[in-house]
């Protein structure tokens, strides 16, 4: 060892030893750290429960908060299977409570019992809530068991005074077994359990918690607030059992259960009282609103039905008066369907348009008809017109089965139908007033006959002359008659178109020369024409007349003038 080494040893011996010890300690700590990771779980398990949980509470809470903050998805995935059922159960409980409340409101509001209670509250001046409470609280809790959920062992029991002793352990065990049996039978994978059972007036309520259940044996009808109170007690009991502080049958005696039956009834009544008082005012408006809505709905319904009935009645009346239709049945369901059955004469006016025209708000009426023969007067007229094929000039009318036929018609039609009219169905009698059609031939024939008569008279009515063209006194009267007759001839000929030919002839005796006589005859014819013209005879007829002389017959003594009328045929 050199001097320097010796010196270093002398000067730094203590420090070197300290350094060596420090290095050894560091190595040991590193070794311990390496082993700690594997030893930690067993160390934690081996550590005393209370100080360990107390020590870990704060870092675990911080770590959980950190994890929620930074790794939310994993936390949600882990908690989701737990949170879902809890939320569902909470919602189901809330809905059940709501339904019970609604049931109670309706039951108390509209039932005869509810009305009776309201009258009692009005008469006594006591709030309705108190009356309801008074009548609803007729129940009694016989026994309450707090049961360890897994084993079915009784953690706590309380009974109303005066009840016979019972084997609570056996009953709790059997109840647990039946609950497990029911759960296993209904849904082994769910969290559902037997919640209630009723036998007559006796009711069993079971409220399950994670570690313990409360079973209540009740007589009568308990209010819903009792269940709330029991749930509250169960939660308090579980709070005491949390953290393994009070777990198992051995520590059950230390539990503050608050499950005394009388205390439970009192707590439930107090809660009911508060709830009823809080809700009684707010319940009025909803109840009033519901009443108004119900009344409005009923009114609307009745008005709607009445409107339908009025329309159907109007249609029924129209059908009843419809000629040729006999209503046999009418089935009506307001604003849903209308079914009409009846008998319809084929000659009656169709019913379907009338039914379709009825305002039934979109309801399509079903119309079913069968044929029949009607004796209604309008149908009788239509039938007669159809079967008789009456022309337009013939009018038909009926009254009480009496058919009246009037107008003009072809004789052939008259001959064919006059007798037939009486055979028509429904006709009792026939008043036949049909004239044959007038075509003028009769009058024409009469006119022709009159003209022929006038022509015959002209052959006898002469104008006589004493000399030359001096007519005797008698002839003046004849002239007047002849002139009047010619006026009539011209009128008849013009009216009926009968052709006539007038001839004016002069006559002489056989004395004298023939030439002289011829001139004299012509002069006499002209004379007569002129005389007739002067007396008003139609000029046209005279102008077209033939002026002629008639050859003198041997030994003739007639001196005068005459008219000769030739009448044509009467046909067109």
């Amino acid at each position: 060892m050199s001097d320097l080494e010796r010196l270093k040893h002398l000067l730094l011996a203590d420090e070197r030893e300290t350094l060596l010890l420090a290095e050894q300690r560091i190595a040991a700590l590193e070794q311990a750290n390496q082993e700690l990771a594997t030893l930690l779980p067993s160390l934690v398990r081996a550590a005393p429960q209370e100080p360990m949980t107390r020590a870990l509470a704060s870092p675990v809470a911080a770590a959980l908060g950190n994890a929620v903050h930074e790794n939310r998805a994993s936390i949600i995935d882990a908690l989701f299977p737990v949170i879902g059922p809890i939320i569902r159960k909470a919602i189901a409980e809330a809905l059940r409570g709501l339904m019970r409340d609604m049931n109670q409101v309706f039951e108390h509001g509209f039932s005869p019992r509810g009305i009776r209670w309201r009258i009692e509250a009005w008469r006594s001046g006591v709030p309705f809530a108190q009356v309801v409470l008074k009548h609803s609280l007729n129940y009694r809790i016989d026994h309450v068991f707090l049961i360890e959920r897994d084993s079915g062992l009784v953690l706590h029991r309380a009974s109303s005074p005066g009840l016979p002793e019972l084997d609570a352990d056996a009953i709790a065990g059997m109840l647990t077994a039946i609950g497990q049996f029911v759960r296993d039978s209904v849904g082994p994978e769910g969290d559902e359990s037997l919640e209630a059972a009723r036998v007559g007036e006796h009711l069993l309520w079971v409220l399950d918690g994670p570690r313990a259940s409360i079973a209540s044996f009740i007589q009568g009808v308990p209010p819903d607030t009792l269940r709330v109170i029991l749930s509250d007690r169960l939660e308090q009991i579980h709070a005491q059992m949390a953290g393994d502080r009070l777990q198992g049958v051995d520590q059950a005696g230390a539990l503050q259960t608050g499950l005394d039956p009388l205390e439970l009834v009192a707590a439930s009544a107090a809660m009911s009282d508060r709830r009823e008082l809080a809700t009684s005012k707010s319940l009025r408006w909803p109840v009033l609103l519901i009443l108004i809505l119900v009344l409005a709905a009923l009114t609307w319904h009745f008005v709607r039905v009445e409107r339908w009935n009025m329309r159907v009645d109007a249609l029924r009346a129209a059908l009843a008066t419809h000629a040729g239709f006999l209503l046999t049945d009418l089935e009506s369901k307001p604003w849903r369907s209308l079914s009409i059955d009846g008998l319809l004469d084929p000659d009656a006016v169709a019913v379907a348009p009338m039914v379709e025209a009825a305002d039934l708000g979109g309801v399509r009426a079903q119309l079913r008809t069968l044929g029949f023969v009607s004796t209604d007067d309008p149908v009788l007229v239509r039938r007669a017109r159809r079967l008789l094929a009456a022309p337009a000039t013939v009018t038909l009318d009926a009254r009480n089965g009496a058919l009246r036929v009037q107008g003009t018609a072809e004789p052939a039609w008259i001959d064919a139908n006059q007798a037939r009219a009486g055979w028509l169905a429904g006709v009792r009698s026939v008043d036949w007033q049909v004239r044959p059609v007038d075509d003028g031939s009769a009058r024409r024939n009469a006119a022709h006959a009159e003209l022929t008569g006038l022509a015959a008279r002209f052959e006898h009515d002469h104008v006589s002359f004493a000399h030359d063209v001096d007519s005797d006194a008698v002839s003046a009267k004849v002239l007047d008659q002849l002139a009047a007759s010619l006026v009539r001839v011209a009128a008849l000929s013009a009216e009926f178109g009968i052709p006539v030919k007038l001839g004016i002839e002069g006559h002489t005796d056989s004395v004298g020369s023939s030439e002289t006589n011829r001139k004299l005859r012509l002069a006499r014819a002209v004379w007569l024409r002129d005389k007739l013209r002067d007396r008003g005879a139609p000029a046209g007829l005279l102008q077209q007349a033939d002026l002629g002389e008639i050859a003198v017959e041997k030994d003739s003594t007639f001196r005068g003038a005459s008219l000769r009328l030739t009448v044509g045929a009467s046909g067109p």
């Binding site: 062992l153 056996a170 065990g173 077994a177 049996f181």
Partner: protein
């Protein structure tokens, strides 16, 4: 002071005499019909221990089966003790009792168990050999009982109750 109650379950094959043993031991609160409907019947009995203390036993008589299904396993939950019952005249029921004990161990690893070989009144017809019982006594307490005559019944329940107290 009311003694703390302990839940015990009766396990065994069909017809080994579980219900008869319970009937001999306890006051019957419920009808035997529960055994066929629900599969279990619960009764209770207070047992006086040798040290002068008392132990209340809540006895779950589970319907006889050669194997435990899910429902029966749920009946076992929370049990502190098991009374395994075999029929001495049928050796197969002894195997069944052991099998049931093995199955129940998955749920009740710490439960006290006592084996009862029943029908001692028919001992002349027993199939179970005494040597077998001697072997079994090395692993768990074995008692010979007769539900008909009442022999060993009280002792069997007291034995289990004593072990629960220990």
């Amino acid at each position: 002071m009311t003694p703390q109650a302990r839940k015990i379950c009766m396990l065994g094959d069909f017809g080994v005499g579980k219900t008869s043993l319970v009937a001999r031991f306890v006051r019957n609160t419920f009808s035997d019909a529960y055994l066929t409907t629900v599969g279990v019947k619960v009764d209770s009995k207070e047992v006086a221990l040798a040290n002068g203390q008392a132990q209340k036993l809540v006895v779950w008589d589970i319907a006889g089966r050669s194997a435990l299904d899910a429902l029966n396993m749920s009946y076992l939950r929370g049990a502190s003790g098991l009374l395994l019952v075999a029929d001495g005249t049928r050796e197969s029921t002894l195997r069944t009792a052991i099998d049931l004990l093995m199955q129940s161990r998955s749920l009740l690893p710490d439960a006290q168990a006592v084996l009862l070989v029943n029908k001692l009144d028919l001992v002349e017809r027993w199939e179970v050999a005494p040597s077998t019982l001697v072997e079994l006594r090395h692993t768990l307490p074995v008692l010979e009982t007769s539900a008909r005559a009442g022999d060993g019944v009280e002792q069997a329940f007291a034995e289990l109750a004593g072990r629960l107290q220990a």
